[in-house]
């Protein structure tokens, strides 16, 4: 949220994604033949600056998780470029690297998962879970490994004595801390956080969000923070990217996006956030119909069948993501012309 973090220089970019696509084949019927594709991620262009938190938001099925997993190469992209500024190797294109080539780069790119119950192996002790990356990359072993794991557990606010226990002995919040400790073991540059707090109780969410903020300060981490909770994203992000049916519709600093959105879908999202203030009750913006299907999306702008500002051109032409104002990108034909409401804005 800090404005100072948004500088206009291009030197401090850590990750750049160009035209990223990830399609999944749809099979069905008795004879297993291809029946089209799900365009889960359909051409993303964005960059992440070193030390910032880029929030990636959108509703279920919009492709935000697929985007995160493709970026760290847990999935192979269908097309596009993923460029990473590796501290040792410099700029590297990741999209075509094989497992072996990815290994040294993975040390600098880690991921934290949503569900702290299924992302930790129940048959491994905490020591093995957190220490495994160190062992596999031959960074530490024996007593040194134990010391390092103890240190990591302390960093995430857990008692080192717990390292011989198994995941079932811990609560959801503690498990998420274990997942964070594992991600930090290799001292990464970039951490993709995929819904890291959405499975946690309200009072525990705050503990983990504060921890993520502290760790970012202490270790100069860069986050891609994937979430559907717009309040949490506003709290933690420097900049925010909004996805709709596999595409980016808007990218801007958190403040610009929340208070002066430049895409009608972002406007609808902001109006829908349930504000914890009974004095600020708002009627939602009616979105007719359902979210478009990524198998058979509509023509032109994917949002046009639900958009209250749609004109003829919206059904014909795909609006490109363009820089409407400095550092503020929107994929709307009328971005900059429409007067859209931000999160607290009442209709004038």
């Amino acid at each position: 949220m800090t404005d100072q973090a948004v500088t206009n220089s291009k030197d401090d970019i850590l990750l750049e994604v160009k035209g990223l696509k990830k399609y999944f084949p749809v099979r069905g019927g008795m004879i297993r033949k291809g029946r089209g594709v799900v365009k889960a991620v359909d051409g993303l262009d964005f960059f992440v600056r070193s030390g910032e938190t880029l929030g990636l938001v959108g509703e279920s099925g919009c492709g935000k998780t697929t985007a995160g997993r493709t970026i760290v190469r847990l999935m192979d992209p269908t097309a596009g470029e993923i460029r990473f500024n590796d501290p040792k190797q410099g700029w590297v294109n990741l999209e075509n690297l094989d497992r072996k080539q990815m290994k040294p780069i993975r040390q600098n790119m880690q991921i934290i998962f949503q569900d702290p119950f299924s992302s930790l192996d129940p048959r491994m002790t905490v020591e093995r879970i957190v220490g495994e990356p160190l062992l596999l990359n031959k960074i530490a072993s024996g007593q040194e490994l134990q010391d390092r794991v103890a240190e990591l557990l302390k960093v995430v606010g857990m008692r080192p004595e717990y390292m011989s226990r198994y995941p079932h002995a811990f609560s959801g919040g503690q498990r998420q801390r274990i997942g964070i400790a594992r991600a930090l073991a290799m001292n990464p540059k970039l951490v993709v956080c995929d819904e890291p707090v959405s499975a946690l109780d309200v009072s525990i969410q705050a503990q983990v969000l504060n921890l993520l903020e502290d760790l970012q300060q202490d270790f100069h981490l860069t986050y891609i923070f994937i979430a559907h909770d717009l309040s949490v994203v506003e709290h933690i992000s420097t900049r925010v990217a909004v996805m709709y049916v596999g595409r980016l519709v808007e990218v801007a600093s958190t403040k610009d996006l929340y208070y002066s959105p430049q895409h009608p879908y972002s406007e609808a999202l902001m109006a829908a956030v349930p504000k914890p203030d009974p004095g600020k009750r708002e009627r939602p913006i009616k979105l007719p119909g359902e979210v478009a299907s990524p198998i058979n999306p509509p023509s032109g702008c994917y949002f046009h069948p639900r958009c209250r500002y749609a004109k003829d051109i919206c059904a014909r032409e795909v609006p490109p993501l363009r820089e409407v104002f400095p550092e503020h990108w929107s994929a709307c034909h009328f971005a900059g012309e429409l007067k859209l409401r931000g999160i607290v804005g009442k209709s004038d």
Binding site: I204, Q205, L209, N210, P276, D277, P284
Partner: protein, 352 residues
């Protein structure tokens, strides 16, 4: 104990819960899911019940519906329903029924359930029967409770589907649950809950599984229907934003007890209980425009088998007073008109 809503008699109360205890007898011990819950539900209002997982908010609703299954059991307390429907033609006569005295499988509760009390759940896919169409499921309830024939039930069903904002109610009538999107299924659930025109609807996290734009629309719909039909809604949620947007009154629960109860504005603007205060400080306030560090509540939500002496929140409380909070359970104290709290900061009164 004084009347927490500040109302006289049962005039504008539809349900009064008094010292309700619901326990679950499991192999590893007794889980005291409800440990003395008391509150009044004002008629024709939306009452929010808020708390974290395991605080007993769902069990409260299930107890009122008499749907608590073995090994769960209501062991103590009263649930008084002030029934207007059964009280004569004018509707002015109010009959008091203690729901805890009814046989949970008996005909009396089955008449009340569905017709006067209804409940909708978080996950519509698991609450709708996958092998019947939406129309069959809703009209079944109407035939059962309203003594009308199949044709009339069908007509009413299509009407209700229209009311909950289904674009093409005749087509939806013939659809199976899997053919609908999450938001549509939740609308179908609501339609089913409303089908017999209940006076009291329990909504257990009805929007938690939905996307934010769909959630906003379902909340808006429920608000409209509530006003239109003069229905009472008990809205169970963990989301304080939803509470602020939806509710007229709020009960905050922690570990099987209501710790604070008031109208919605005092809960958000002048919260009294340290737990309510801590909850509000631990969430990001969307649209506040300032970045303040969140203040987490220390520790974790204790498991329901934990037998915490004194106030159940004391191990996590910022205002913990040794020798007091860890020994006695604070009684319900009135701090303002219609605002009650269970905390020694406001009274030394002890629950026996």
């Amino acid at each position: 104990m004084s009347n927490p809503m500040g109302t006289n008699g049962a005039g504008d109360i539809i349900l009064r819960i008094k010292d309700l205890h619901t326990y679950f007898y499991t192999d590893i011990g007794v889980a005291k899911a409800l440990n003395g819950v008391s509150f009044d539900i004002p008629a024709r209002k939306v009452m929010g019940v808020v708390g974290e997982s395991g605080c007993g908010k769902s069990v409260t609703a299930l107890s009122c519906m008499r749907l608590v299954q073995r090994p769960g059991k209501i062991v103590k307390g009263e649930i008084l329903l002030y029934s207007r429907k059964r009280g004569g033609a004018s509707g002015k006569v109010v009959e008091e029924i203690d729901l805890t005295s009814l046989d949970p499988m008996g005909s009396e509760i089955r008449q009340i359930r569905g017709a006067e009390l209804a409940m909708i759940f978080q996950e519509p896919m698991t609450s709708l029967n996958p092998s019947y169409t939406i129309g069959e499921q809703i009209s079944e309830a109407i035939v059962l409770h309203q003594k009308v024939d199949q044709g009339e039930a069908e007509k009413r069903t299509i009407n209700i589907l229209d009311q909950v904002g289904m674009a093409n109610p005749r087509a939806i009538f013939k659809r199976y649950p899997h053919e609908l999107s999450g938001g549509m299924r939740q609308r179908a659930m609501i339609a089913m809950g409303l089908s017999c025109n209940p006076s009291l609807l329990f909504a257990d996290e009805p929007t938690t599984a939905l996307d934010v734009t769909t959630e906003a629309q379902i909340l808006d719909l429920m608000r409209d229907l509530q006003a239109e039909l003069g229905m009472t809604i008990v809205f169970i949620t963990h989301n304080l934003g939803v509470v602020a947007q939806m509710c007229d009154y709020v009960a905050v629960m922690y570990l099987g007890r209501v710790v604070e109860q008031a109208e919605v504005k005092p809960i958000f603007y002048t919260p009294k209980h340290p737990y309510t205060q801590a909850l509000l400080n631990s969430i990001p306030h969307a649209g506040s425009g300032v970045h303040t560090r969140l203040q987490p509540i220390k520790g974790i939500v204790p498991d329901p088998y934990a037998n915490i002496r004194g106030c159940p929140f004391h191990p996590r409380c910022a205002a913990y007073m040794p020798g007091k909070c860890d020994v006695h359970v604070p009684a319900i104290t009135r701090v303002a008109e219609g605002h009650t709290v269970r905390c020694f900061l406001y009274s030394d009164e002890v629950e026996e």
